[in-house]
Amino acid sequence: MPRPIANEPSAADAPPSIGKIFTAFAMIGVSSFGGGLVAYLRDVVVDREKWLTGDEFLGALEIGQTLPGLNSTNVAVIVGRKLRGPRGAAAAALGLILPGVAILIVLGLLYVRFHNNPDVAAALAGVAAAAVGLLLQVTLKIGGRSFLRPKDLMFIIPTFLMVGVFHVSLAATLFLLAPIAIWLNRPESLKKKTPAPSSDPEP
Protein backbone atom coordinates (compact mmCIF):
# COMPACT_ATOMS: atom_id res chain seq x y z
CA MET A 1 0.00 0.00 0.00
CA PRO A 2 1.75 3.21 -1.10
CA ARG A 3 1.83 6.03 1.35
CA PRO A 4 2.68 9.66 0.81
CA ILE A 5 5.97 10.70 2.32
CA ALA A 6 5.04 14.33 2.11
CA ASN A 7 7.63 16.39 0.34
CA GLU A 8 5.93 19.40 1.87
CA PRO A 9 5.76 19.77 5.64
CA SER A 10 2.44 18.36 6.84
CA ALA A 11 2.11 20.26 10.08
CA ALA A 12 2.60 23.94 9.36
CA ASP A 13 4.68 24.47 12.51
CA ALA A 14 8.09 26.08 12.15
CA PRO A 15 10.56 23.34 11.27
CA PRO A 16 13.05 22.38 14.00
CA SER A 17 16.52 23.88 13.94
CA ILE A 18 19.48 22.01 12.46
CA GLY A 19 20.89 21.63 15.97
CA LYS A 20 17.63 20.16 17.21
CA ILE A 21 17.56 17.64 14.35
CA PHE A 22 21.16 16.64 14.99
CA THR A 23 20.56 16.22 18.73
CA ALA A 24 17.42 14.14 18.27
CA PHE A 25 19.18 11.73 15.91
CA ALA A 26 22.35 11.71 17.98
CA MET A 27 20.26 10.57 20.96
CA ILE A 28 19.26 7.53 18.89
CA GLY A 29 22.82 7.11 17.65
CA VAL A 30 24.17 6.96 21.18
CA SER A 31 21.50 4.81 22.83
CA SER A 32 20.57 2.21 20.22
CA PHE A 33 22.71 -0.66 21.45
CA GLY A 34 21.89 -3.99 19.90
CA GLY A 35 20.36 -2.84 16.62
CA GLY A 36 16.68 -2.41 15.78
CA LEU A 37 17.24 1.21 14.81
CA VAL A 38 14.01 1.57 12.86
CA ALA A 39 11.99 1.17 16.05
CA TYR A 40 14.11 3.81 17.80
CA LEU A 41 13.66 6.14 14.83
CA ARG A 42 9.92 5.71 14.88
CA ASP A 43 9.77 6.45 18.62
CA VAL A 44 11.60 9.73 18.22
CA VAL A 45 10.35 10.95 14.84
CA VAL A 46 6.68 10.00 15.21
CA ASP A 47 5.89 9.70 18.92
CA ARG A 48 8.21 12.14 20.66
CA GLU A 49 8.89 14.93 18.17
CA LYS A 50 5.81 14.42 15.96
CA TRP A 51 7.80 15.39 12.89
CA LEU A 52 6.04 12.73 10.79
CA THR A 53 2.75 10.89 11.14
CA GLY A 54 2.88 7.12 11.46
CA ASP A 55 1.86 6.74 7.81
CA GLU A 56 4.46 9.21 6.61
CA PHE A 57 7.08 7.31 8.57
CA LEU A 58 6.05 4.04 6.91
CA GLY A 59 6.28 5.82 3.56
CA ALA A 60 9.82 6.94 4.38
CA LEU A 61 10.69 3.42 5.52
CA GLU A 62 9.41 1.94 2.26
CA ILE A 63 11.75 4.18 0.32
CA GLY A 64 14.60 3.52 2.71
CA GLN A 65 14.17 -0.22 2.28
CA THR A 66 13.81 -0.14 -1.48
CA LEU A 67 16.87 2.00 -2.15
CA PRO A 68 20.40 0.72 -1.53
CA GLY A 69 22.11 1.63 1.71
CA LEU A 70 21.29 1.11 5.35
CA ASN A 71 17.59 1.40 6.10
CA SER A 72 18.22 3.52 9.19
CA THR A 73 20.50 6.09 7.53
CA ASN A 74 18.19 6.26 4.52
CA VAL A 75 15.22 7.03 6.76
CA ALA A 76 17.29 9.65 8.60
CA VAL A 77 18.14 11.32 5.29
CA ILE A 78 14.48 11.37 4.22
CA VAL A 79 13.23 12.76 7.53
CA GLY A 80 16.01 15.34 7.71
CA ARG A 81 15.39 16.45 4.15
CA LYS A 82 11.69 16.82 4.80
CA LEU A 83 12.36 18.98 7.86
CA ARG A 84 15.19 21.17 6.67
CA GLY A 85 16.38 20.30 3.17
CA PRO A 86 19.99 19.29 2.52
CA ARG A 87 21.35 20.57 5.82
CA GLY A 88 18.60 18.78 7.72
CA ALA A 89 19.40 15.54 5.91
CA ALA A 90 23.09 15.90 6.71
CA ALA A 91 22.36 16.71 10.37
CA ALA A 92 20.08 13.70 10.75
CA ALA A 93 22.43 11.21 9.08
CA LEU A 94 25.53 12.49 10.91
CA GLY A 95 23.66 12.55 14.22
CA LEU A 96 22.73 8.92 13.75
CA ILE A 97 26.18 7.76 12.63
CA LEU A 98 28.72 9.81 14.61
CA PRO A 99 28.15 8.57 18.19
CA GLY A 100 28.64 4.95 17.13
CA VAL A 101 31.72 5.96 15.15
CA ALA A 102 33.19 7.63 18.24
CA ILE A 103 32.65 4.43 20.24
CA LEU A 104 34.11 2.35 17.39
CA ILE A 105 37.24 4.51 17.35
CA VAL A 106 37.78 3.54 20.99
CA LEU A 107 36.90 -0.12 20.40
CA GLY A 108 38.98 -0.17 17.24
CA LEU A 109 42.07 1.26 18.93
CA LEU A 110 41.71 -1.24 21.76
CA TYR A 111 41.29 -3.99 19.17
CA VAL A 112 44.33 -2.98 17.14
CA ARG A 113 46.41 -2.80 20.32
CA PHE A 114 45.22 -5.96 22.08
CA HIS A 115 43.94 -8.44 19.51
CA ASN A 116 47.05 -10.58 19.83
CA ASN A 117 46.67 -10.85 23.58
CA PRO A 118 45.42 -14.41 24.25
CA ASP A 119 42.81 -13.29 26.80
CA VAL A 120 41.38 -10.74 24.39
CA ALA A 121 41.57 -13.17 21.47
CA ALA A 122 39.53 -15.68 23.52
CA ALA A 123 36.89 -13.09 24.36
CA LEU A 124 36.76 -11.93 20.73
CA ALA A 125 36.27 -15.51 19.55
CA GLY A 126 33.21 -15.66 21.79
CA VAL A 127 31.96 -12.30 20.59
CA ALA A 128 32.37 -13.26 16.93
CA ALA A 129 30.65 -16.62 17.42
CA ALA A 130 27.75 -14.78 19.04
CA ALA A 131 27.56 -12.22 16.23
CA VAL A 132 27.11 -15.06 13.73
CA GLY A 133 24.16 -16.31 15.77
CA LEU A 134 22.67 -12.83 15.80
CA LEU A 135 23.09 -12.48 12.05
CA LEU A 136 21.55 -15.90 11.43
CA GLN A 137 18.59 -15.12 13.65
CA VAL A 138 17.92 -11.83 11.84
CA THR A 139 18.21 -13.62 8.49
CA LEU A 140 15.79 -16.35 9.55
CA LYS A 141 13.38 -13.78 10.97
CA ILE A 142 13.41 -11.58 7.88
CA GLY A 143 13.38 -14.59 5.58
CA GLY A 144 10.53 -16.23 7.45
CA ARG A 145 8.30 -18.17 5.15
CA SER A 146 10.42 -17.27 2.13
CA PHE A 147 12.59 -20.24 3.04
CA LEU A 148 9.61 -22.52 2.35
CA ARG A 149 8.39 -20.89 -0.87
CA PRO A 150 9.91 -22.43 -4.01
CA LYS A 151 9.43 -19.14 -5.86
CA ASP A 152 11.65 -17.36 -3.31
CA LEU A 153 14.14 -20.22 -2.91
CA MET A 154 14.67 -19.95 -6.64
CA PHE A 155 16.49 -16.70 -5.85
CA ILE A 156 17.72 -17.26 -2.29
CA ILE A 157 19.79 -20.33 -3.19
CA PRO A 158 21.44 -19.01 -6.39
CA THR A 159 22.24 -15.68 -4.67
CA PHE A 160 23.77 -17.50 -1.72
CA LEU A 161 25.83 -19.80 -3.94
CA MET A 162 26.99 -17.13 -6.37
CA VAL A 163 28.03 -14.49 -3.85
CA GLY A 164 28.77 -16.59 -0.79
CA VAL A 165 30.43 -19.70 -2.22
CA PHE A 166 31.63 -18.94 -5.74
CA HIS A 167 32.45 -15.25 -5.16
CA VAL A 168 30.75 -14.02 -8.28
CA SER A 169 30.81 -10.25 -7.89
CA LEU A 170 27.78 -8.73 -6.25
CA ALA A 171 27.31 -6.37 -9.19
CA ALA A 172 27.17 -9.25 -11.67
CA THR A 173 24.86 -11.26 -9.41
CA LEU A 174 22.42 -8.38 -9.03
CA PHE A 175 22.62 -7.58 -12.73
CA LEU A 176 21.72 -11.15 -13.57
CA LEU A 177 19.13 -12.00 -10.92
CA ALA A 178 17.40 -8.70 -10.06
CA PRO A 179 15.74 -8.09 -13.45
CA ILE A 180 14.35 -11.65 -13.47
CA ALA A 181 13.12 -11.35 -9.88
CA ILE A 182 11.50 -7.99 -10.52
CA TRP A 183 9.93 -9.21 -13.76
CA LEU A 184 8.39 -12.20 -12.00
CA ASN A 185 6.82 -9.76 -9.55
CA ARG A 186 5.70 -7.36 -12.25
CA PRO A 187 2.42 -5.51 -11.79
CA GLU A 188 -0.71 -7.58 -12.34
CA SER A 189 -1.84 -5.33 -15.16
CA LEU A 190 1.17 -6.39 -17.20
CA LYS A 191 0.78 -10.09 -16.67
CA LYS A 192 -2.03 -10.42 -19.19
CA LYS A 193 -1.30 -7.68 -21.66
CA THR A 194 1.86 -7.14 -23.63
CA PRO A 195 4.72 -5.67 -21.58
CA ALA A 196 4.86 -1.90 -21.38
CA PRO A 197 7.94 0.23 -20.63
CA SER A 198 8.68 0.47 -16.95
CA SER A 199 9.07 4.23 -16.84
CA ASP A 200 5.42 4.96 -16.99
CA PRO A 201 4.42 6.77 -13.82
CA GLU A 202 0.79 7.20 -13.04
CA PRO A 203 -0.40 10.75 -12.59
Binding site: I63, P68, I78, L104, V132, L136, Q137, I182, P187
Partner: protein, 185 residues
Protein backbone atom coordinates in the same frame (compact mmCIF):
# COMPACT_ATOMS: atom_id res chain seq x y z
CA UNK B 1 51.51 7.00 -6.77
CA UNK B 2 52.53 6.20 -3.23
CA UNK B 3 51.33 2.96 -1.71
CA UNK B 4 49.10 4.64 0.85
CA UNK B 5 47.44 6.76 -1.79
CA UNK B 6 46.85 3.72 -3.96
CA UNK B 7 45.36 1.90 -0.97
CA UNK B 8 43.06 4.85 -0.27
CA UNK B 9 41.81 4.89 -3.86
CA UNK B 10 41.13 1.15 -3.68
CA UNK B 11 39.27 1.59 -0.39
CA UNK B 12 37.18 4.37 -1.87
CA UNK B 13 36.31 2.27 -4.92
CA UNK B 14 35.39 -0.87 -3.03
CA UNK B 15 33.31 0.74 -0.29
CA UNK B 16 31.50 3.21 -2.55
CA UNK B 17 30.48 0.28 -4.77
CA UNK B 18 29.33 -1.67 -1.73
CA UNK B 19 27.35 1.36 -0.58
CA UNK B 20 25.37 1.48 -3.81
CA UNK B 21 24.79 -2.26 -3.93
CA UNK B 22 23.48 -2.64 -0.39
CA UNK B 23 19.99 -3.72 -1.42
CA UNK B 24 17.79 -4.31 1.59
CA UNK B 25 20.34 -3.03 4.11
CA UNK B 26 24.03 -3.06 4.93
CA UNK B 27 24.13 -6.73 5.85
CA UNK B 28 23.49 -7.63 2.21
CA UNK B 29 27.01 -6.55 1.23
CA UNK B 30 28.74 -8.40 4.05
CA UNK B 31 29.80 -11.44 1.96
CA UNK B 32 31.19 -9.28 -0.85
CA UNK B 33 32.90 -7.01 1.68
CA UNK B 34 34.53 -10.02 3.33
CA UNK B 35 35.74 -11.34 -0.01
CA UNK B 36 37.14 -7.97 -1.11
CA UNK B 37 38.77 -7.10 2.23
CA UNK B 38 40.26 -10.55 2.92
CA UNK B 39 40.89 -12.46 -0.31
CA UNK B 40 41.23 -9.71 -2.92
CA UNK B 41 42.94 -6.81 -1.13
CA UNK B 42 44.34 -8.47 2.02
CA UNK B 43 43.38 -5.52 4.18
CA UNK B 44 42.49 -7.86 7.07
CA UNK B 45 42.60 -11.60 7.74
CA UNK B 46 39.35 -13.54 7.88
CA UNK B 47 39.62 -13.84 11.66
CA UNK B 48 40.14 -10.10 11.93
CA UNK B 49 37.16 -9.51 9.67
CA UNK B 50 34.95 -11.65 11.89
CA UNK B 51 36.16 -9.82 15.03
CA UNK B 52 35.74 -6.40 13.46
CA UNK B 53 32.23 -7.24 12.26
CA UNK B 54 31.27 -8.41 15.73
CA UNK B 55 32.78 -5.33 17.40
CA UNK B 56 30.45 -3.35 15.17
CA UNK B 57 27.50 -5.12 16.75
CA UNK B 58 28.58 -3.82 20.16
CA UNK B 59 28.48 -0.15 19.20
CA UNK B 60 25.19 1.79 19.03
CA UNK B 61 23.89 3.30 15.82
CA UNK B 62 23.97 1.77 12.32
CA UNK B 63 25.59 -1.65 12.67
CA UNK B 64 28.00 -1.25 9.76
CA UNK B 65 30.18 1.63 11.02
CA UNK B 66 32.81 -0.98 11.81
CA UNK B 67 33.84 -0.70 8.14
CA UNK B 68 36.04 2.17 9.35
CA UNK B 69 38.24 -0.30 11.26
CA UNK B 70 38.91 -2.19 8.01
CA UNK B 71 39.99 1.13 6.50
CA UNK B 72 42.24 1.73 9.50
CA UNK B 73 43.95 -1.62 9.00
CA UNK B 74 44.54 -0.80 5.35
CA UNK B 75 45.61 2.85 5.52
CA UNK B 76 45.57 4.23 9.07
CA UNK B 77 43.40 7.08 10.31
CA UNK B 78 42.84 8.46 6.81
CA UNK B 79 41.59 5.01 5.78
CA UNK B 80 39.20 4.94 8.73
CA UNK B 81 37.42 8.15 7.78
CA UNK B 82 37.61 7.62 4.04
CA UNK B 83 35.93 4.23 4.27
CA UNK B 84 33.15 5.61 6.47
CA UNK B 85 32.59 8.37 3.95
CA UNK B 86 32.70 5.99 0.98
CA UNK B 87 30.32 3.55 2.61
CA UNK B 88 27.69 6.04 3.81
CA UNK B 89 27.78 9.00 1.45
CA UNK B 90 26.82 7.50 -1.95
CA UNK B 91 23.76 5.67 -0.65
CA UNK B 92 22.65 8.68 1.43
CA UNK B 93 23.08 10.96 -1.57
CA UNK B 94 21.08 8.59 -3.76
CA UNK B 95 18.31 8.43 -1.17
CA UNK B 96 18.31 12.21 -0.89
CA UNK B 97 17.85 12.68 -4.60
CA UNK B 98 15.41 9.83 -5.19
CA UNK B 99 13.19 10.58 -2.19
CA UNK B 100 12.78 14.03 -3.69
CA UNK B 101 11.07 12.67 -6.77
CA UNK B 102 9.58 9.63 -5.08
CA UNK B 103 6.13 11.03 -4.46
CA UNK B 104 5.45 11.26 -8.18
CA UNK B 105 6.25 7.55 -8.50
CA UNK B 106 4.72 6.22 -5.35
CA UNK B 107 1.64 4.85 -7.07
CA UNK B 108 3.74 3.25 -9.77
CA UNK B 109 3.11 -0.50 -9.56
CA UNK B 110 6.75 -1.18 -10.41
CA UNK B 111 7.89 0.08 -7.02
CA UNK B 112 6.17 -2.87 -5.41
CA UNK B 113 7.68 -5.20 -8.00
CA UNK B 114 11.17 -3.96 -7.17
CA UNK B 115 10.64 -4.37 -3.45
CA UNK B 116 9.15 -7.85 -3.68
CA UNK B 117 11.58 -8.97 -6.33
CA UNK B 118 14.64 -7.91 -4.37
CA UNK B 119 13.45 -9.39 -1.05
CA UNK B 120 14.57 -13.01 -1.70
CA UNK B 121 17.87 -11.77 -3.17
CA UNK B 122 18.49 -9.80 0.01
CA UNK B 123 17.79 -12.92 2.07
CA UNK B 124 20.23 -14.92 -0.06
CA UNK B 125 22.86 -12.22 0.47
CA UNK B 126 22.27 -12.20 4.23
CA UNK B 127 22.66 -15.96 4.27
CA UNK B 128 25.92 -15.57 2.38
CA UNK B 129 26.92 -13.04 5.06
CA UNK B 130 26.27 -15.62 7.78
CA UNK B 131 28.48 -18.01 5.84
CA UNK B 132 31.21 -15.40 5.22
CA UNK B 133 31.59 -14.60 8.92
CA UNK B 134 30.65 -18.04 10.20
CA UNK B 135 33.29 -19.93 8.23
CA UNK B 136 35.95 -18.41 10.48
CA UNK B 137 34.01 -17.45 13.59
CA UNK B 138 31.79 -20.51 14.07
CA UNK B 139 33.41 -23.41 12.28
CA UNK B 140 37.09 -23.13 11.59
CA UNK B 141 39.18 -26.20 10.79
CA UNK B 142 42.33 -24.52 12.11
CA UNK B 143 40.86 -24.86 15.56
CA UNK B 144 40.27 -27.98 17.67
CA UNK B 145 36.92 -29.71 17.49
CA UNK B 146 35.83 -28.74 21.00
CA UNK B 147 36.49 -25.10 20.15
CA UNK B 148 34.20 -25.34 17.12
CA UNK B 149 31.63 -27.03 19.32
CA UNK B 150 31.62 -24.05 21.68
CA UNK B 151 31.48 -21.42 18.94
CA UNK B 152 28.68 -23.24 17.08
CA UNK B 153 26.92 -23.66 20.41
CA UNK B 154 27.09 -19.92 21.08
CA UNK B 155 25.54 -19.18 17.70
CA UNK B 156 22.74 -21.71 18.04
CA UNK B 157 22.01 -20.65 21.61
CA UNK B 158 21.64 -17.04 20.46
CA UNK B 159 19.32 -17.97 17.59
CA UNK B 160 17.10 -19.92 19.98
CA UNK B 161 17.20 -17.29 22.74
CA UNK B 162 16.27 -14.47 20.36
CA UNK B 163 13.37 -16.42 18.90
CA UNK B 164 12.19 -17.30 22.38
CA UNK B 165 12.47 -13.92 24.00
CA UNK B 166 13.18 -10.29 23.20
CA UNK B 167 16.62 -9.76 24.66
CA UNK B 168 18.99 -6.98 23.67
CA UNK B 169 21.48 -8.73 21.37
CA UNK B 170 24.36 -6.55 22.63
CA UNK B 171 23.97 -8.17 26.08
CA UNK B 172 24.09 -11.67 24.57
CA UNK B 173 27.19 -10.81 22.55
CA UNK B 174 28.94 -9.44 25.64
CA UNK B 175 27.94 -12.54 27.60
CA UNK B 176 29.47 -14.81 24.96
CA UNK B 177 32.61 -12.66 25.04
CA UNK B 178 32.81 -13.10 28.80
CA UNK B 179 32.34 -16.87 28.60
CA UNK B 180 34.81 -16.98 25.71
CA UNK B 181 37.42 -15.24 27.86
CA UNK B 182 37.46 -18.25 30.18
CA UNK B 183 36.65 -21.08 27.82
CA UNK B 184 37.99 -20.34 24.33
CA UNK B 185 41.73 -20.54 24.80
Amino acid sequence: MSDTLKELVELLNVFAMLSLMAVGGGTAVLPEMEHEAVAVHHWVTSTQFASIYSLGQLAPGPNMSMVGIIGYHAAGAAGFFLVLFAFYFPACMLTYVVSHIWDSYRDNPWRDAVQRGLAPITIGLMLAGVYAVGKTASFNLDRPLWFNGVTLGFGLAIVLLLFWKRINPAILILACGAIGWFVLR
